[in-house]
């Protein structure tokens, strides 16, 4: 297809993540490291999910037919479970690492758990988005006509928007998840898991992009608002931020950014 499609879809899908990376993560080496470790954890979770699916397929002897579809759906659901499990494991690892860093370097301020929640969420999101979309992107540079067999011609655009929403969702899920773990609010973890399952299940109705995308975006906005309040934001701080009065506000409240 055209270069316009390639660049357009690439920036739709990865633009916000790239901006988040450049402005919040690239400046601090420790955050970059935690981001990459987060990406690694997601990768390992994907490995286990693929292993499960592969074994399930070998058990059913690779027969064609509806059973493959069911296996795929099962694979997707199990994969979501494994991803959340690995998110929990990453939380445990970060907790241990934080304590270790604190004991060795008492004066040096280790990154707070909230920051690590954000970084880990972004790591998961970037890796997830990249794995989902990069092959499609590289195909979009080659020759072809989209939708020539009756599929939707908006394939690339839809995939790009879906990737974007998945990345942002992972960020919000990370924040909510870690906060839930910190405060031992297991309901938060359950909600994260359920919304993740819901989002994945929504993609099963894939040709109907409208419902699929719109509902996923609604879920993302809801998660975003929840994550905002969980991370310590409030309506007041939002108002001050938008009116560019936040410096005084923060100084007044003696909170560090």
């Amino acid at each position: 297809m055209t270069a316009a499609v390639f660049f357009g879809c690439a920036f739709i899908a990865f633009g916000p993540a790239l901006a988040l990376y450049i402005f919040t993560i690239a400046t601090e080496p420790l955050r970059v490291i935690f981001l990459i470790i987060g990406a690694f954890f997601w990768l390992v979770s994907l490995l286990f999910s693929s292993l499960f699916w592969f074994m399930a397929r070998t058990i059913t002897d690779n027969k064609d037919g509806p059973i493959q579809k069911y296996l795929l759906i099962l694979g997707v659901l199990v994969s979501v479970l494994i991803q959340e499990m690995f998110r929990f494991m990453y939380y445990k690892l970060l907790k241990k690492a934080s304590e270790g860093l604190k004991s060795i370097n008492p004066d040096e301020t280790a990154p707070s758990m909230r920051l690590l929640a954000y970084v880990s969420g972004l790591g998961f999101g970037i890796m997830s988005g990249v794995f989902a979309f990069v092959n499609t992107l590289s195909d979009s540079l080659g020759p072809g006509t989209v939708g020539i067999h009756g599929d939707s011609p908006q394939f690339f655009l839809n995939s790009a928007f879906m990737t974007l929403v998945i990345i942002l969702l992972h960020v919000f899920w990370g924040i909510i998840f870690f906060d839930g773990c910190e405060k031992k609010k297991w309901s938060a973890l359950l909600v994260v898991l359920l919304t993740h399952l819901l989002v994945s299940a929504l993609t099963f109705i894939s040709p109907h992009y409208g419902i699929n995308l719109v509902s996923t975006y609604i879920i993302m906005v809801l998660m975003g608002i929840w994550a905002f309040f969980v991370a310590g934001g409030s309506c007041r701080s939002l108002k001050f931020c938008l009116l560019c009065q936040d410096k005084d506000f923060l100084l007044f409240n003696q909170r560090s950014r």
Binding site: I36, L46, L51, I104, F131, I166, T203
Partner: protein, 483 residues
């Protein structure tokens, strides 16, 4: 091989430098290398000589030392060895590049804290060049068809993989690996012997010839292929000018003095070139087995007390000699934060004494390097506290590590499926391995092999992603499901 600049202990062996010091190849007529060189010319397999050379150069691991020691070593060296007159600029360069850890006898707690404090920064300082090298290699592999075409094999991997049966192919690749590894081991031992008997001129000459070949010949071939791919015409005068400038500046930067960033860029480029050559000329299965075997060898050579690399390092340390800088990527950087008063005594490290023999080579401009590269940090509470400089301790990584990381990622990118997921998975795996190695480095504070962990992760992730994850993700993508 990876080691901190401020480590006082013996650097045990540059295992990774061993493998792919392909940077430095030089034809030596009348020696096996010379024959290899002739064969090389005939069969168009360029890095045979480099392989041999590589092994030889592996032994040169820089013992970590303080500036003063380095300077002293230089002085001793200048008095002792004649070869300094030609190559002392390298040693001065070397000393310049050593980021001194500062004063020996600092309280250990402070050292430890400082190491950990600077740990994350050093990891990133190594992530960036490794990533850049991999990006160059993957971009070339994906676009220039030349490096994925099969055009013969090296003399070191004589067994072909075009066999009908799987068992035969496996056997051939294992035999290829055995031959390659034994060549490398032989070269290492040869290098140790050379170094022990102080044949410095030989080694230096070889280094220079090798980097000449890499910077000129390989660059010319690479440029030719890239121009062919993009169908861009370039006339010979322009080509000559470009390649000449690139190569000459590269030689100056790598072997003599130059801005650190430019030197790092050149080292990255020659590592990428070498990795591309390996990717082209190593057959499929042999490449993977060789990668595995090299990591094992790396581990053994660096950590075992009887390893040739370790002996080499100990010899180097006994003689208090610095290591050839052309084989190591140094991430050291120094920044000055407002110098209130230049204390001449603390600047002493930069003012390296002249050797009268040097003058005959008209290297007069040595006295002060054009940029302050190394400082001794002020003692805490010392009167030099006004000198508000801050020294950044660097970590050094052997070029062989760069080359083999890039070979792994490049091979992952070159496999016929055209899958980007495999490439990315290997990339992340290698970075994580490097992270773990640096963590171990911070804990153990001695030189460590940088290949084993990263290559192991890379191999695991390559094979598992290629065989397990790829079908899963492809099926998901075809049904437009998202996990």
């Amino acid at each position: 091989m990876i080691f901190p600049s401020r480590d006082f202990k013996v650097l045990s062996g540059f295992s990774s430098d061993l493998e792919a010091r392909g940077v430095l190849c030089s034809p030596e007529p009348g020696t096996p290398q010379g024959r290899a060189m002739l064969t090389f010319m005939a069969s168009d397999s360029e890095e045979e000589v480099c392989d041999e050379r590589t092994s030889l150069m592996s032994a040169e691991s820089p013992p970590p030392r303080c500036c003063q020691e380095a300077r002293q070593g230089l002085e001793d060296g200048e008095n002792a060895a004649q070869w300094r007159s030609q190559d002392s600029e390298e040693d001065l360069d070397d000393a310049d590049r050593y980021v001194c850890s500062g004063v020996p006898g600092q309280p250990l707690g402070l050292e430890e804290e400082l190491t950990l404090k600077y740990g994350a920064k050093h990891v990133i300082m190594l992530f960036v060049p490794v990533t850049l090298c991999m990006i160059v290699v993957v971009a070339t592999i994906k676009s220039v068809r030349f490096y994925t075409e099969k055009n013969g094999q090296l003399i070191y991997t004589p067994f072909t993989e075009d066999t009908p049966s799987v068992g035969q192919r496996l056997l051939n690749s294992v035999l290829n690996t055995l031959i390659m590894i034994s060549v490398i081991v032989a070269m290492t031992i040869f290098l140790v012997v050379l170094y022990k008997y102080r044949c410095y001129k030989f080694i230096h000459g070889w280094l220079i010839m090798s980097s000449l070949m890499l910077l000129f010949l390989f660059t010319y071939i690479y440029l030719g292929e890239v121009l062919k791919t993009y169908n861009v015409a370039m006339d010979y005068p322009t080509l000559f000018l470009t390649v000449w400038n690139f190569g000459a500046v590269g030689m100056v930067c790598i072997h003599w003095k130059g801005p650190l960033v430019l030197q790092q860029a050149y080292l990255i480029m020659i590592s990428a070139l070498m990795a591309l050559v390996f990717i082209k000329y190593l057959p499929e299965w042999s490449a993977w087995v060789i990668l595995g075997a090299i990591s094992v060898y790396d581990l053994v050579a660096v950590l075992c007390p009887k390893g040739p690399l370790r002996m080499l390092v100990e010899t180097a340390q006994e003689r208090n000699e610095p290591i050839f800088p052309a084989l190591i990527y140094s991430s050291a950087m120094v920044w000055t934060v407002g110098m209130a008063k230049l204390d001449p005594s603390s600047q002493g490290a930069l003012q390296l004494p002249y050797d009268p023999e040097m003058e005959e080579d008209s290297y007069d401009s040595f006295g002060e390097p054009s940029y302050p590269e190394v400082f001794e940090p002020p003692l805490p509470g010392s009167p030099e506290g006004e000198l508000e400089e801050e020294e950044e301790r660097g970590v050094k990584l052997g070029l062989g590590d760069f080359i083999f990381y890039s070979v792994l990622v490049g091979k992952a990118a070159a496999t016929g499926s055209g899958d980007w997921n495999t490439t990315l998975a290997c990339f992340v795996a290698i970075l994580i391995g490097l992270c773990l190695t640096l963590l171990l480095l911070a804990v153990f504070k001695k030189a460590l092999p940088a290949l084993p962990i990263s290559i192991t992760f890379g191999l695991i992730f390559y094979f598992s992603t290629d065989n397990l994850v790829r079908p899963f993700m492809d099926t998901l993508a075809s049904h437009q499901l998202y996990i």
